[in-house]
């Protein structure tokens, strides 16, 4: 199989805000209308009952935030190498191991995974697919300063974040074979690409603001119509008869936790628009993508592992933006208050 072409792009200033992180796990503040009810009360459960059952619309994201890293406009072309280009020998073996971890994280990174997801669930085609946060394009952007943790991150540290948040697990130590393999695989996929440049198709697409403010109830309808068949009516995912997860859970205890990039509605909307339903990417309208992303990201999921003191304080520190529902009351539930624990490492198999 040949690699997917990732074409270079000309980036208008201000549209590169997410360059700091080539793939999920990043969040940036944005402008927009005010978020709904902040959970200021000390008795959120009581307060919840008196709240309107219908959440207010979330503000669409305008990427006006200063980019955490400057990227240059480029006209250089970049096509990740084909699988057949993986060399023989120890380097090639490590590339293959990285690919295997990416494809089947559950079995190949055991001990670091705390939910039912695989890397490839959100990075389609084992991290090769443009607009699905391709791994090679991400590699080209590291080391990078990230507002998420306020310092310059190496690529390995960025990968650690994936395990801690998106995989709801624990970070493999630096230079652990899992991280070395993933880094080697990413480096291989980045071959020929321009370093420090956000190539076209990196990260997830930044959708334009929807015509109408994104809406939970409309999102629920989109979900029932286009998503529930595979991901289940309650977002629980589906397994085959041998107990292996086939369709990943989108919320609940076996999904990504509140710290994951996919918990940001702008990321989710971009991913969904480009890639969902699987094999039918691009068929949903932008409005549908915004609405259903809002619906998905308004559900309870494992706690943010950075939790400090209270949901209110944790929102203030890590989620104070319209693209996160953490710490807000949706349908009478204070999101984050009854989250299942984070970092519960799988013990099965």
């Amino acid at each position: 199989m040949s690699g997917n072409p990732i074409k270079p792009s000309t980036w208008a200033a201000g549209v590169v805000a997410l360059a700091a992180a080539g793939f999920i796990g990043h969040m940036l503040p944005s402008t927009g209308t005010a978020p709904e009810q902040p959970a200021a009360s000390a008795q959120p459960a009581k307060q919840a009952k008196s709240e309107s059952p219908t959440p207010k619309a979330v503000a669409p994201v305008q990427e006006t935030a200063a980019p955490a890293r400057k990227t240059e406009a480029t006209s250089a072309s970049y096509t990740p190498p084909a699988e057949s280009d993986i060399p023989k020998g120890p380097f090639g073996d490590m590339v293959r191991l990285g690919e295997a971890i990416f494809h089947d994280t559950q079995h190949n990174a055991k001990g670091f995974v705390g939910n039912d997801l695989q890397c490839a669930n959100c990075h389609i085609d084992r991290g090769r697919q443009p607009n699905s946060a391709p791994l090679g394009a991400a590699y080209l952007l590291y080391p990078a300063y990230r507002s998420k943790n306020g310092h310059v991150n190496t690529f390995q540290e960025r990968l650690q974040g994936c395990f801690r948040f998106s995989m709801n697990g624990k970070a493999p130590p630096f230079n652990d074979k899992v991280l070395v393999a993933l880094e080697t695989y990413a480096y291989f996929l980045a071959r020929g690409g321009p370093t420090g440049v956000a190539v076209e198709g990196h990260g997830y697409p930044k959708l334009k603001a929807p015509g109408q403010p994104a809406d939970y109830d409309r999102g629920a309808k989109v979900y029932a119509q286009h998503c529930a068949l595979c991901h289940g009516a309650g977002g629980e995912g589906q397994k085959s008869a041998d107990g292996q997860t086939v369709f990943p859970p989108l919320w609940g205890p076996r999904s990504f936790n509140w710290g994951a990039g996919m918990g940001s509605i702008n990321n989710a909307a971009g991913f969904i628009k480009a890639n969902m339903p699987l094999g039918l990417g691009g068929t949903l309208s932008d409005q549908d993508a915004w609405d259903v992303a809002t619906y998905m990201d308004s559900q309870e999921r494992p706690q943010d592992p950075r939790f400090v003191d209270s949901v209110t304080e944790t929102r203030k520190r890590f989620h104070d933006e319209p693209t996160s529902k953490y710490g807000l009351i949706v349908n009478g539930v204070l999101l984050g208050e009854k989250s299942p624990p984070s970092g519960t490492i799988n013990t099965m198999d």
Binding site: M1, S2, G3, N4, H103, D104, I124, D125, R126, R128, Q129, H226, L229, C230, Q238, K239, S240, A241, D242, G243, Q244, V246, F247, P277, L278, G279, L280, G281
Partner: protein, 219 residues
């Protein structure tokens, strides 16, 4: 009270026995309405006749089988052989047959093994798809081991290669339109003939497994 419960239990058990007998009877002898016996093509134990492309039915999801029978009837799945047979079945008979085959376990029917290279190429495609063409791997919906998922995504492991080939060509030609959201039609439209042959060979090469009614899908 106890005798009532006992009586109800007995009634239940005999109803189940009758259902099972009916399914077996229809499969072996056909129906009074004129439906041909299923077993003449699908094998005595629902194992199928791989070389002729008659699919294995044993262990398929019950709702999946029912949906296919309904689709033959309403024309969303065109098939000259099945259409008149299903037209002769009542609603109850369709349900009975679906239940009968869903619960069956049958050893794998013998088939001429395909070339290892074709199986290997099929395995690769099933696992990783052909994303430059926008095509997911088969396993991304049918499960990594081809065991199927729920009522919608049938098990493919151990299925007749000729059947799979014909089915994919039928999706491609638009003779089959009974999939949700057009998912399968979309995938099939992206497959070329070689890919179809390879992936069919791969799934036929896999072992069959226990019926799809796993604990979590049982009512």
């Amino acid at each position: 009270m106890r005798s009532m419960v006992g009586g109800a239990l007995l009634l239940c058990m005999s109803a189940i026995a009758a259902l099972a007998a009916d399914g077996k009877d229809i499969a072996a002898n056909g129906t009074s309405g004129g439906a041909l016996p299923c077993s003449s093509c699908h094998g005595e134990h629902g194992e199928g006749t791989p070389a002729s492309g008659f699919p294995r039915l044993a262990g398929l999801n019950v709702q999946y089988i029912e949906h296919q029978l309904e689709s033959f009837k309403n024309g969303t799945r065109k098939n000259d052989v099945m259409q008149p047979i299903v037209a002769a079945l009542s609603d109850d008979e369709r349900k009975t047959i679906a239940n009968y085959y869903a619960d069956m376990t049958a050893p794998k029917a013998e088939a001429e093994p395909a070339a290892p290279a074709a199986i290997a190429a099929g395995a690769k495609l099933a696992a990783t798809g052909d994303w430059p063409k926008g095509m997911p791997g088969c396993g991304q919906c049918h499960g990594a081991a081809g065991l199927g998922v729920g009522a919608t995504f049938p098990r493919l492991a151990g299925q007749s290669a000729t059947y799979i080939e014909n089915a994919l060509q039928s999706w491609k030609a638009g003779d089959r339109k009974n999939d949700p959201m057009g998912l399968m039609a979309s995938v099939a439209s992206k497959l070329n003939d070689d890919q179809i042959k390879n992936v069919a060979a791969y799934y036929e090469s896999l072992p069959v497994a226990a019926p799809a009614r796993s604990p979590e899908t049982k009512p």
